[in-house]
């Protein structure tokens, strides 16, 4: 008689079954420390996520709170020409509380220290800033400065960055134009300004009333005017401004309100925190790969117990759930710990990001960020742990009878593919949540998969090579260490991926930084000019040339520059084209101020691409334009462009295009006129020379600023220093984030060493029984970890060299020759850390006598 199933087990197989939780708890007794160690790999990833998210939340709250301080006023108007009387009178009607500012670049000179530098000069009148504190040392200097307009006292306030750079201090004199000012205060912070802005353009503040006497405001100077307004509390600024916005537009005045600035700042920082979140997420994923590998080893150890459970009647699902509960609980603990750590780490983030922050960030615990971090971390960690856990469902009870029984548990399990799918979906979903763009989210997942894939490939290749070209003649210690790299249950791949990715991030960062600097340095090599003098007035041209020559410097190039605006394209006015929605001409090209030169020949940084070089034909100016400009403007040869030069309309015909090498310190122009058209137009001159060293540069600039205070000099050294400063600040932030990945890699290393300890102890005991000394065993471990570290660092560096080469070739279009010395330092540090952590975690293997080890429960 074939009976089907009798009434058997009453137990429901659901995750809510308390027995499963009880078993999970009991079973974890002997392995809680180890379980926690491998779950600790996700702690740092989650900490990074929570820290960045909390910081982002706090930042946006602070931006909301301090929005008015970002602007320093309720409304700011910006324009770059002096206003006519009518408009000026209108501006005065907007609000009785108005401050004015005139800003332009100029050379400033500190006679005591001899320091000279191109800086931003701001002449200020009124009570600006209305909101936020203008931090000046001593603080009394602010009131003194504001009164200076009336008292006639010649004082200046100078950005701290500039004083430090030029070795100057309050009490010194500073020469701006033809006037000498007393430095009354050191400006620590101006509302709305960040440390990065002051690095790029450090400012000297002057009383507005004294500006004319400096003699710096001349025709052709690049000046920006700003008017700051304060309204009565409760005024709806945005509604108010709508009533006269069109009038401002017509007068060419841009306006900025608190609401707009808040949105801009908020958007910029949301982008930043999202980008950093992705970096943090990489650290989390690294940790998860570590978790998966550790759970894999853990499951292997537990298979005998699972077989017994199956034998005495537990279903595959029950056994699976026991271990799922165990790993999930450990994951939760890791996530909570990570969130706690993240909430602490975010306390130091305002310091890390200090240079980029326009406001003070108030730090509080963001429960939203904590929940998001714990949720994300737990989901991803459990998904990764599921891969090895799935095997448990298929463990045969037959293993209780035959320990050597090997069933095919890794075969084609459809659930396995479902988990892979869920992981890809979770990663892409997370990326989308951060960047809100499916294409970029997929790109992120793909990029990540490529990096993981390449590192896996490199790891496998190296393992293959070690095996293929195994040095059979080497000493036993070396052979054993090398063999450990590819023996069963080796950790080579996982370590190459996790530590390799960390090394990759650090190395790429370094290589890109040197690449960007070399791009600038490259342009200074081979007799190219490295100093540019500009704002030279017509009447100063001969004098400046003479001064250059008196310092025994060459005049490499001297060109006239005329500023103008575009008025018509092929007979259509710029305004008409702007209103035409079907027009594909970019707005910037229509509204920008063009700086144009005139000459009949091409220079050596240019090549004629199509048509003819600029010339004058039948009183018509045939101009030449840069090749890319022609395409962007949707122009063709023979089209007409009409320019407005200080009110005079000058018609031109596009006669040819030029290819321009922009990578040189040279005056290159989008548009070049022929001789005979612009000679009488208001213009200034630019002169290029080459200085030998910083002493010569400083001596010349001091002389220049004394004789021609309105002429500005900018040398390549200054540009290099500025770029270096900014890159240093940016890379500090990225290095801070990469640290999470590196430390995660080291945690993965720790946990995998601890997890494979049992196997190592057995081996070590066997070797010692056979007569190996402690020293020999120590050497085997040392060499193995050294090889692992080298392998991981090497893989990461190879990946980064290729990555940076791609960046150099495709993006920056410059040759890339990596400097291997610093990369070797990275490799050495990574290897040393790997050896240290490896040996530290396996110290127990060495110090215990064989017999004790044989008996011990490991």
């Amino acid at each position: 008689m074939d009976r089907i199933l009798p009434k058997v087990p009453a137990r429901s197989v659901s995750i809510t079954d308390p027995w499963l939780w009880k078993m999970a708890w009991r079973d974890s007794r002997r392995s809680r420390r180890r379980l926690f160690l491998f779950m600790s790999a996700i702690v740092l990833g989650i900490a990074a996520l929570v820290a960045i998210n909390s910081f982002g939340d706090n930042l946006s709250a602070s931006v909301d709170e301090q929005a008015r301080e970002l602007l320093g006023a309720d409304l700011v108007l910006t324009y770059n020409k002096t206003l006519n009387k009518k408009t000026e009178a209108f501006l005065n009607t907007i609000s009785p509380e108005r401050s004015n500012e005139v800003a332009f670049p100029s050379m400033v000179f500190f006679p005591r220290s001899g320091g000279v530098r191109l800086s931003q000069v701001k002449a200020l009148e009124g009570r600006f800033p209305y909101y936020g504190e203008w931090e000046v040392q001593p603080s009394a200097a602010v009131a003194r400065f504001r009164k200076a307009g009336k008292t006639g006292e010649r004082i200046a306030l100078v950005d701290d960055a500039l004083l430090v750079q030029l070795n100057a201090r309050p009490g010194d004199s500073v020469k701006v134009g033809s006037l000498m000012f007393l430095v009354a205060g050191r400006v620590m912070k101006t509302p709305g300004q960040t440390a990065v802005t002051t690095t790029v353009a450090p400012t000297v503040f002057l009383p507005y009333a004294q500006l004319p006497e400096t003699g710096l405001l001349q025709r052709g100077s690049r000046v920006t005017y700003r008017s700051y307004f304060q309204f009565d509390p409760g005024t709806n600024v945005d509604a108010y401004i709508k009533t006269f916005a069109s009038r401002l537009d017509k007068a060419g005045i841009n306006y900025d309100t608190v609401t707009e600035r808040k949105e801009q700042t908020g958007r910029a920082f949301t982008d930043l925190t999202r980008f950093l979140n992705l970096v943090a997420f990489v650290a989390l994923l690294l940790g998860c790969v570590g978790v998966a590998s550790a759970v894999h080893l853990y499951v292997k150890e537990k298979i005998a117990s699972v077989a017994v459970l199956r034998c005495i009647g537990a279903s595959g699902r029950q056994a699976f759930l026991i271990y799922l509960i165990q790993t999930s609980l450990m994951g939760l603990m890791g996530a909570v710990l990570g969130a706690a750590l993240g909430s602490i780490v975010q306390l130091i983030l305002p310091e890390v990001f200090g240079s980029f922050l326009p406001i003070d960030v108030t730090v509080t615990v963001s429960w939203k960020a904590v929940a998001q971090g714990v949720g994300t971390g737990l989901v991803i960690a459990v998904l990764f742990a599921l891969l090895p856990l799935l095997v448990i469902r298929k463990v045969s009870p037959l293993r209780t009878l035959r320990t050597s029984y090997e069933e095919d548990v890794t075969g084609r399990d459809p659930l396995r593919w479902a988990v892979y799918g869920a992981i890809v979906l979770a990663i892409t979903g997370f990326a989308y949540w951060q960047i809100r763009d499916w294409k970029m989210a997929l790109g992120f997942t793909l990029g990540l998969a490529t990096a993981f894939g390449v590192l896996t490939g490199l790891g496998r290749l190296l393992m293959f090579l070690v095996r293929r070209f195994f040095p059979v003649s080497w000493s036993y210690i070396w052979r054993q260490s090398l063999a450990n790299l590819y023996r069963p249950q080796n950790q080579t791949l996982i370590l190459v991926i996790s530590i390799g990715l960390g090394a990759f991030l650090i190395a790429t960062l370094y290589l890109t930084q040197t690449l960007l600097l070399s791009r600038v340095q490259l342009s200074a090599s081979g007799g190219q000019p490295n100093m540019v003098l500009f704002d030279i007035q017509n009447e100063q041209k001969a004098g400046v040339q003479q001064l250059v020559q008196s310092h025994r410097l060459p005049v490499v190039q001297s060109v006239p520059v005329v500023t103008m605006r575009l008025a018509e394209v092929n007979g259509r006015t710029v305004e008409a084209i702007q209103k035409d929605t079907s027009s594909k001409i970019p707005d910037w090209a229509l509204t920008r101020e063009y700086r144009v030169t005139y000459r009949d020949a091409l220079i050596d940084s240019e090549k004629l691409a199509t048509g003819k070089a600029q010339s004058l034909r039948n009183q018509t100016a045939l101009i030449s334009v840069e090749k890319g400009y022609l395409d962007r403007m949707r122009l063709k040869l023979g089209d007409t462009l009409t320019f407005n030069v200080q009110g005079a309309l000058i018609p031109t015909v596009v006669g040819g295009t030029r290819e321009v090498d922009w990578n040189r310190v040279q005056t290159n122009f989008l548009i070049v006129f022929p001789n005979g058209v612009l000679e009488q137009a208001p213009q200034f001159h630019v002169l290029m020379t080459r200085v030998r060293d910083t002493q010569q540069s400083a001596a010349f600039q001091r002389d220049l600023v004394r004789r021609y205070p309105n002429v500005s000099a900018i040398d390549l050294g200054l540009i290099l220093r500025t770029i270096d400063d900014i890159l240093e600040k940016v890379s500090f932030v990225i290095r801070f984030m990469a640290l999470f990945s590196i430390v995660t890699g080291l945690l993965v290393l720790s946990s995998s060493v601890v997890i494979s300890k049992y196997q190592r102890i057995q081996e070590s005991v066997l070797l010692r029984t056979l007569g190996a000394s402690r020293r020999q065993i120590l050497l085997i471990s040392l060499i193995e970890y050294m090889l692992l570290g080298l392998l991981a660092a090497f893989s990461g560096i190879v990946l980064s060299v290729f990555g940076t080469w791609g960046l150099a070739y495709f993006v920056f279009e410059i040759p890339f020759v990596p400097d291997f010395t610093p990369l070797l330092v990275v490799a050495a540090v990574v290897t040393a850390l790997t050896i240290l952590i490896g040996l530290f975690n396996s110290r127990g293997v060495l110090v215990r006598p064989p017999l004790e080890v044989l008996r011990a429960e490991v």
Binding site: P6, V308, G313
Partner: protein
């Protein structure tokens, strides 16, 4: 009604492209309360036969009926349920869960059945095997003989109809073996359980009523022992 019926059991494996027959057309039938030994040299197929009879594996052909339930058509989880309901196991290497105490090890089969008084029953069983004071010790804190006694208590926890023992004394010294074997037979008699024993030890096998010898996957003899004859004549 027989408690266990094996019909033409054959088990083959694929190895290096060749088919390896480890069990060839084995049939027998056991009644409730029978004691039964499978003996034979290493690699003869006796453990394979035990695995098939206990529902730990499936035969390549032939059928196993355990308490009249045809095992070959059941899924692995259904067979697990059958094991939990009707079967007890004793292994050569004890197979206690190392992370559970002795008491918890005995409780597991009861808990799997959803029994409420698992702890009390398990404690009684431990007392029955003489380990009432050792319930909170972990397997590694117990000697081999003690571990096998815990394993015995676990095997009887769910009051099985049939007990499978795979070389139960294989890892024990002579004195301990004798104690454990006595205990197996005592408990078996008390509970009226059918006993299936796989062993090399002919002396141990001779304590069961029936012995089948296997060699190369074939049953070479199927005999009733003297004790059986005594028992039968006594009846």
């Amino acid at each position: 009604m027989s408690i266990l019926r094996a019909e033409n059991l054959t088990k083959t494996y694929q190895s290096g492209g060749r088919t390896l027959t480890v069990l060839n057309d084995v049939s027998f039938e056991l009644q409730p309360g029978d004691t039964f030994s499978i003996v034979g040299p290493s690699g003869s197929g006796k453990t394979t036969l035990l695995g098939l009879c206990a529902g730990l594996d499936r035969a390549s052909s032939g059928s196993v009926y355990l308490n009249d339930i045809k095992l070959d058509t059941l899924s692995e989880d259904e067979r697990a349920a059958v094991r939990n309901q009707y079967v007890g196991f004793i292994f050569q290497n004890f197979q206690l869960l190392p992370t559970l105490t002795a008491l918890e090890n005995v409780m597991v089969p009861l808990e799997l059945r959803g029994e409420k008084k698992a702890g009390r029953t398990a404690q009684e069983l431990l007392e029955r095997v003489g380990l009432g004071q050792r319930g909170h010790h972990y397997p590694t804190q117990l000697s081999g003989g003690e571990q096998q006694r815990v394993s015995l208590a676990r095997a009887f926890a769910n009051r099985p109809k049939i007990l499978f023992a795979d070389e139960p004394t294989g890892n024990l010294d002579t004195d301990t073996s004798a104690n454990v074997v006595d205990l197996i037979f005592e408990l078996n008699r008390e509970a009226g359980t059918t006993l299936v024993l796989v062993t090399h030890d002919l002396e141990l096998a001779s304590r069961t009523q029936r012995i089948i010898r296997i060699k190369g996957g074939h049953v070479v003899s199927d005999t009733y022992t003297e004790s059986t004859a005594d028992l039968r004549s006594g009846q």
